[in-house]
Amino acid sequence: MGFDFAALLGLFGLSGVFALIGLVLAAWMAWRIVEKAGLPGWLGLGSILLTLTAVGTIVPLILLWIFAFMRWPRDDETPVVALPGQPPAPPARPGMLPPPTQALGDRRPWRLNGLLPTGGTVAIAVDGTVPAYLLTGAAAAQANELSVPDPSVGQPHARLLVAGGRLGLEDLGTPGGTLIDGARLLPEHGPRDISAARTVRLGSVELALSRS
């Protein structure tokens, strides 16, 4: 009986060690995740450590939902490509890499080529005569509209920005979604520099990016 009791205590001790390691790991990772979103890391650490208190796991769960749907400071940082008419990005702080806003020497027009799910092809030339274009699933009605005729493409779907030989892309929040080299672009990301990207996906249409 004494042996059984000792084994039981050992089991509790072992599970306690595992729980402690798990808690420390979770707190460390929460610190890093919250910092990547632009919030102070101690907020993540604190929310995990709340599980040790009487409020249990309910409060951290509520905080997880708040974190998922709140506006992150990262989303408010200077976009990579400046919108037309807006002031240029401020200089980088000391010790940081400057944002890639330098103009490119290559001024050839950009091309977006792809296949439509219906079997047709789409070829778009972006020559930069207009600083911003709207990518739309409808027929182009104005000079700044570029048509990608597919039902999965919104009307409009995304904004293309041309500045200094660079190309930027901004999602306008349509259900079809926008991906840059497989990574999802959301409206809260703002305009992103896609000059070095290879593919852009609008809804179910994949477009290869090149210069002609």
């Binding site: 798990g22 979770a26 632009g38 769960l61 997880l64 998922a68 940082e77 990574a183 999802r184 959301l186």
Partner: protein, 79 residues
Amino acid sequence: MSFLVWLIGLGSLVVFGIIAVHLLVALVLIIPTWRICTRAGFSGALSLFHLVPLIGLFIVMAILAFSDWPAGEARPRRP
């Protein structure tokens, strides 16, 4: 024999209950994590790791914490 059947039935009910509670808890975690993953630039399907008992949460957190976010990260704060 009837006791054995009763025991098996009770066991099945308990297992069903455990699975149902696990799925419910996983769902409560999957929804916000899906949103966090997509905002970070990852596939939202990563959040389905919450369905893995015990270590699923740690897998998702490790991916988010230790890999570069495709959609960009906040600049480091000043010390």
